[in-house]
Each structure stands twice: as structure tokens, then as C-alpha cells.
């Protein structure tokens, strides 16, 4: 019996965690597992954000970070831990879409506002309430801008090849509607795994359809595999892609073959090339400076900037919410949620954010510019 009591006490002791008055933010990202290549970038972006501003007025912000290992179960557990044990006022996360959806379900259930930094379709709570907003450009928008550009370039049909994962699904599904609207035809829906050694079969199938262009739904290093194989099989047409290809390894591995690829991107990517009048110019340069200071290295990626923008949205909303309630209380969470959902014309590195109640995305087409790879550098193409 003594053992049982001791065990009970041990379990009970896990539940320590006092309420506090300062604002607490819980951040989850993937520092291990397949999502870590992006998760690490989110992490660095957040470090830059905390470097940029770690208090609101005189109020210090308490910041807690957990790793989900790219596993949605761990993301669920982390979100619950942050809310139930650390009593966070806001959740920010995470690197893979499934994990982010899993976190959003917790945010809805426990009524805590959350800023998603992966592009997801945000679910509403059982009561119909919305507690979650998503920072990135919706994948459909990322793809729409590209497909619209294809139309402008005179392309009538194109082939698709992407990852056999959540990202590959998002890009393909996002391309369907604008393609239809523009009267264009998607000829193939080919998929490959991140660990595949060859996409010859898929590429042969694409070549057999003789497409005007190819849309790439991969990311980073392995995103270069289809262009390489396409070139090997004699493909000479144009290549289009999404922001997932904005990656040094893609350029390094792709080399000459991926020169000229046209992708949509947040303006932060080409911040230094933007005209001074562009909304993103100043804040992006500030972000880069903070990033350099916090991580000791420069950045040109777009993912870390989502973390940074999430922080900006939070700072802005918290300032307003603190006028009505005390941090650490359910009232404050509701106030913070309401404040987030009424964000107006907030200038971030990626976009000018406008959130409305009932909508999860707060960006418009201004949040995407087209960039072309030329001589190993991304060139702004207005």
C-alpha cells in the first residue's frame, strides 16, 4: 500500500505549476524527425523574434519551448502540457502540418489562442469558435500566384510532381482551382518520397504527356531531384515552384539545371532587392539583423520569418488585450484571441496582416512576389 501512495504522490508531483501574472507563450517546433529541416528554421526565427522584443512595455514575456519530434502525438501532449501545466496564454507552432492540426485541436478544446506557423486548414472548435490563426500564405494562394503567372507566360497545360506527403497534397490541391479558372490542364499528379533514389518512372510519365511547363511540389534538397531527372530526359521547358524551394541546398544540388525556375515567395526573401517603398523592406531588414544577432548567421529563408511575424502579431494583440484583462486568466486568453482576430494592417516581413473573426488566414496577394533563380541567386521579378 505504501508503494501505491508513493506512486500516487509521484504522479501528483508532476502537476506542479503555479499561476503567474506575466504573459506566457508556449512554442512548439520540430527539432528532430523528418520535419526538423524546417523546424530548426522556425526555431531560429523565434530566437530572432525574442531578440527583437522580449517584453511588452514593462511586462516581461515568459517564453517556453518544446520539441515535438515531428510526431503529432507529441505535439498534442506538448500543447496540453503548455496549457495545463505552464498555463500559457498563447500557443505558437509547429513545423509539420499534421502536428499543427493536432495542436490546433487542443487549442480549440482548452480555449487558448494559437498562431499556427505551418499552412493548415484550421479547424473550428465544437462550439463554432475559432481560436487558431495561421501565419503563412495559404498553400492555395502560394500556388494560385504561380498558376496565374503561368497563364501570363502563355502556358496552357502543365505537369505536377511533388512529395508523397502532406506538402505534396497541399500544392496539388491548391493548383487545381486556379488551373480550372484559367482554363489550364494539369496533366499528371506524380509523387515521390523524400528518401527516394530515383524519379525516373515519374519523369518518364511526365515526358510522355509533353507538358508546356512543370510545377514542382517538393522542397529543399530533394526538390531538385525532378528537375535533374527532367533535364537528363531532355526536358527544356519552364519550371515553376512554391516557396518550399527557396533553399540553399536546392540551388547547390540543382546547379545549372534549376536556373530560371520561377517560384512564388514572401517578400522577405528578396528584401534587399525590394524598392524602399515596399511595406516589407524595413521590417525584413530589422528581422535579418535580429536573426544575425540571435543565431550568429545570416538568413535568406522564409520559414524563420513566419515565426517572427507570429511574434509581431502576438505583440500587437497582447498590447491591446492587456488593457482589458490580466495575463494568466481565462479572460485574458479570450481577450487575446479577440485581439488577434481583429488585427488590422499589421506590417510583417511576409505580409500586411488583417485578421477577421471567423477567418483563419489574414494575408492577401500582396504577401507573395515572384522570384526567379538567376546565377544561383533569387531575383525579384515584379
Amino acid at each position: 500500500m505504501r508503494k501505491i501512495i508513493a506512486a500516487a504522490l509521484a504522479v501528483a508531483s508532476l502537476g506542479v505549476g503555479a499561476a503567474q501574472a506575466e504573459i506566457t507563450v508556449g512554442f512548439v517546433t520540430s527539432q528532430s524527425g523528418p520535419g526538423s529541416s524546417i523546424g530548426v528554421l522556425y526555431d531560429r526565427g523565434m530566437k530572432a523574434a525574442v531578440e527583437y522584443a522580449s517584453s511588452i512595455g514593462t511586462e516581461k514575456i515568459k517564453f517556453i519551448q518544446l520539441d515535438d519530434g515531428s510526431d503529432p502525438s507529441a505535439a498534442t501532449r506538448n500543447a496540453r502540457k503548455l496549457v495545463e501545466e505552464n498555463k500559457v496564454d498563447l500557443l505558437i507552432g509547429t513545423a509539420t502540418a499534421p502536428s499543427t492540426i493536432a495542436m490546433a485541436a487542443v487549442a480549440n478544446e482548452l480555449k487558448v489562442p494559437m498562431i499556427a506557423i505551418s499552412p493548415i486548414t484550421v479547424p473550428a472548435a465544437d462550439s463554432g469558435d475559432r481560436w487558431v490563426i495561421a501565419m503563412p500564405q495559404p498553400p492555395s494562394l502560394m500556388v494560385k500566384v504561380v498558376v496565374d503567372r503561368m497563364k501570363r507566360d502563355g502556358i496552357k497545360n502543365f505537369a505536377y510532381i511533388g512529395f508523397s506527403d502532406a506538402w505534396g497534397d497541399l500544392v496539388y490541391n491548391g493548383a487545381q482551382k486556379p488551373a480550372e479558372a484559367n482554363g489550364m490542364k494539369i496533366l499528371t499528379n506524380e509523387r515521390y518520397a523524400r528518401t527516394d533514389t530515383s524519379v525516373t518512372g515519374q519523369v518518364l510519365k511526365i515526358m510522355a504527356t509533353k507538358p508546356d511547363a512543370v510545377l514542382l511540389g517538393g522542397s529543399a534538397t530533394q526538390g531538385a531531384l525532378p528537375p535533374l531527372t527532367l533535364a537528363e530526359r531532355g526536358y527544356k521547358g519552364p519550371l515553376y515552384g512554391t516557396p518550399a524551394l527557396l533553399n540553399a541546398d536546392f540551388i547547390r544540388v540543382g546547379g545549372k539545371v534549376v536556373e530560371g525556375v520561377l517560384v512564388s515567395a514572401g517578400p522577405v526573401i528578396v528584401a534587399e532587392q525590394l524598392p524602399d517603398s515596399h511595406f516589407s523592406k524595413k521590417i525584413s531588414m530589422d528581422f535579418r539583423a535580429a536573426y544575425q544577432k540571435a543565431n550568429g548567421m545570416p538568413t535568406t529563408d522564409g520559414f524563420s520569418a513566419y515565426s517572427f511575424d507570429a511574434w509581431l502579431v502576438f505583440l500587437d494583440a497582447a498590447k491591446r488585450a492587456m488593457a482589458t484583462a490580466k495575463p494568466g486568466t481565462p479572460e485574458f486568453r479570450t481577450a487575446l484571441k479577440n485581439a488577434i482576430f481583429t488585427t488590422k494592417d499589421l506590417v510583417g516581413t511576409h505580409a500586411i496582416y488583417n485578421f477577421k473573426p471567423g477567418e483563419s488566414y489574414g494575408v492577401d496577394e500582396r504577401s507573395l512576389v515572384l522570384v526567379r533563380l538567376a546565377d544561383g541567386k533569387w531575383k525579384y521579378e515584379p
Partner: protein, 348 residues
């Protein structure tokens, strides 16, 4: 599908199959000699590729730290065992084998990393660097439980894979690498465009599996390996130490894994965790052959490569499902055709 596409896919499938063959031969070799189903095998291949890429970009590969750490650990374990057994005279030998020899290539790489090296030197260094990994792991992880059941050894091997892939992430980071092609030429064979790299892979697979065959058939070492595989106790009785043949099997297998890593690095992107899937596909090839036959493994690997290649054309999304799903009919066939053998397992 036209004949031309079928031919191109066949060439591609044979190239993948050749990679699986090299890894599959190593797997069967280790299993036969030590009864360990060495799951982390693919990881070693991946580590070779990652080391090669590091050398190429002029950075110090994380493998140096890994090998150094393993060598120190293995030396400590070996020396403790020797001191406990009172066999102090064997200490210098242990130090040589477990500390000095593995550290030599590591030190060499540590010194020259960052210099501009030629391709053959880089490849040689990478191979030398990963060569000690499997034997060291054997000493640290498997030797203490050499007499355990196959299932326990398998469980340990799976756990070891996770330890290695975790360390891979620590040492190499999450990004994938792809090295420069070893040969940069394109041939036309009977109207088919064949990449020289593909040809190289196939030739290397044939040469190395041929060499392995020669070693097994015609050298004393090969006979000792085969003897241990057939009967450990019997081998011990005629003066073959299973621990030694085990180390040799691991060394040979390490070499095979390293070579496949070098061959595959320019063809695809290798991540810290890529080895698992590659290794498992090689397993499928080996299982088709019942984990025992070398020629069977060759056929099995080829089948897996071709299956993968053709299914990537028909339905790329379900490629992995097809490759791993093929095991079900294969096992069904094996289970129906299996003679009533007396597979008495050992009591634990």
C-alpha cells in the same frame, strides 16, 4: 508504356537493385556469421555519403567524432573485460585494434578536412572513416550478448538503428546532401541513354559481389567465415574464434555499406535517416532469398529494384506500399513451400 520507357525503367531498376544487392549481401553475411540482423546497416551507408559530402564542401564530417567516441567506448569495454579476466598481456593488442586503428583514419580526416582533395582521396578517406563503425558497434553492443536469441539480437539491432540515426541528426544536421557525380558522361546503348553513373553502380555491384564470392570460395578466411556460419560450436572446436570471424564479417560488410554509400551519394539526396528505408528494401530482397542464399539475395534485390522502378511509373504514391507489400505473397509462398523442419528455438 512503350518499349523504350520499359527499357529505361529496367535500367533504373537494375541500378537501384545493385545498391540493394551490395547492402543485402552485407546483411546476409553478418546474419550468417553472427546471427545478428544488422538493421543499422543502411545508416552506415548513409553516413559514408554524408562524410563524403562534408569532405567535398570542405567541412569536417561528424563521423570523426562518432568514430572517436565509439573507439574510446569499445576500448574501455575491452580493457575492462581483459583486466577482469586477468589477461593483461593482451592489453596492447586490444589498444591497437580498438583505439589506434580506428582512430588513424579519423585523425587523418580531422587533419585534412578543409583542404582541397581530389575525388579518389575523398572517397578513400570516407571509406576508411566508416570502416571501423560496424566492428566497433559489434564490440560495444552485440559481443556482450552474443549468445542471446536471434529475436533479442534483432531488437537490439533495431534500437541501435535509432541511436545511430539520432546521432546522425546531431552530427550531420537535418539537411540532405548530394555529392558531385563520380563520372560525368552519358552513353547510348542500343538507342537507350544510359548515365555513366548508373553503369558504374552496376559494375561495382558485380565486381564486389564477385570478389566476395572469390573470398568465400577460395581463401582460408572465407572458409572460416563459412564454418562459423554453419556451426559456431564446431568452428570453435577447430580453432576458429567466432568473435574474430564476427569482426571480419562486420569489416567486410562495413566496406560493402561504405561502397554503396559512395555510389548512391551522387544519385540521390541522402539525409541522416535515409539509410533505414534503403536498408529495409535491401532486407526485402534478402528475405525473398530466405536470409541465407547469396545468389538468391542478388535475385531478390534485383526484383525489389525493378518492382520499385516500375511501380514508380504506374503509381508513384503507392510505390513503398508495393515494395513492402510484396513480402506478404513472398512469405506466403515460403510458408507453404517450407518443409516440416524442426525449428526448435532456444529457451531463454
Amino acid at each position: 508504356m512503350t518499349g523504350e520507357i520499359a527499357a529505361i525503367l529496367a535500367v533504373d531498376g537494375i541500378a537501384s537493385g545493385a545498391i540493394y544487392l551490395l547492402i543485402g549481401l552485407g546483411l546476409v553475411l553478418i546474419f550468417a556469421v553472427t546471427r545478428v540482423i544488422f538493421v543499422p546497416f543502411g545508416d552506415i551507408a548513409a553516413f559514408t555519403a554524408l562524410s563524403l559530402a562534408s569532405l567535398e564542401t570542405g567541412t569536417r564530417p561528424g563521423t570523426v567524432a562518432l568514430v572517436a567516441g565509439l573507439a574510446v567506448l569499445a576500448t574501455l569495454i575491452e580493457c575492462t573485460a581483459l583486466v577482469r579476466a586477468g589477461a593483461l598481456s593482451r592489453l596492447p593488442r586490444a589498444l591497437l585494434f580498438y583505439l589506434v586503428l580506428p582512430l588513424l583514419p579519423a585523425a587523418a580526416v580531422w587533419l585534412v578536412a578543409g583542404m582541397a582533395l581530389s575525388m579518389p582521396v575523398r572517397i578513400a578517406l570516407s571509406l576508411a572513416l566508416v570502416l571501423p563503425i560496424a566492428p566497433l558497434l559489434d564490440r560495444i553492443v552485440f559481443r556482450p550478448i552474443a549468445d542471446a536469441s536471434v529475436l533479442l539480437l534483432l531488437t537490439v539491432a533495431v534500437a541501435l538503428h535509432f541511436a545511430l540515426s539520432g546521432m546522425g541528426l546531431l552530427f550531420f544536421g537535418p539537411e540532405g546532401v548530394r555529392t558531385k557525380p563520380l563520372v560525368d558522361a552519358v552513353f547510348e546503348v542500343a538507342g537507350l541513354i544510359v548515365n555513366a553513373q548508373t553503369l558504374l553502380i552496376v559494375v561495382a555491384a558485380v565486381v564486389f559481389s564477385g570478389l566476395l564470392f572469390l573470398v568465400f570460395e577460395y581463401t582460408l578466411l572465407g572458409k572460416a567465415l563459412r564454418a562459423t556460419a554453419i556451426n559456431r560450436t564446431g568452428a570453435r572446436l577447430v580453432g576458429i574464434r567466432p568473435a574474430t570471424t564476427g569482426t571480419i564479417a562486420y569489416l567486410l560488410a562495413s566496406l560493402l555499406a561504405g561502397i554503396s554509400g559512395v555510389l548512391i551519394a551522387p544519385v540521390t539526396t541522402i539525409f541522416y535517416d535515409s539509410g533505414f528505408l534503403i536498408g529495409l528494401k535491401a532486407f526485402v530482397g534478402a528475405i525473398i532469398a530466405g536470409m541465407t542464399s547469396y545468389p538468391g539475395t542478388a535475385l531478390g534485390s534485383l526484383l525489389v529494384g525493378l518492382l520499385e522502378s516500375y511501380s514508380s511509373f504506374w503509381s508513384s504514391a503507392y510505390k513503398e506500399v508495393v515494395v513492402f507489400g510484396i513480402l506478404i505473397p513472398v512469405l506466403l509462398w515460403r510458408s507453404l513451400s517450407m518443409a516440416a523442419t524442426d525449428d526448435e528455438e532456444t529457451e531463454e
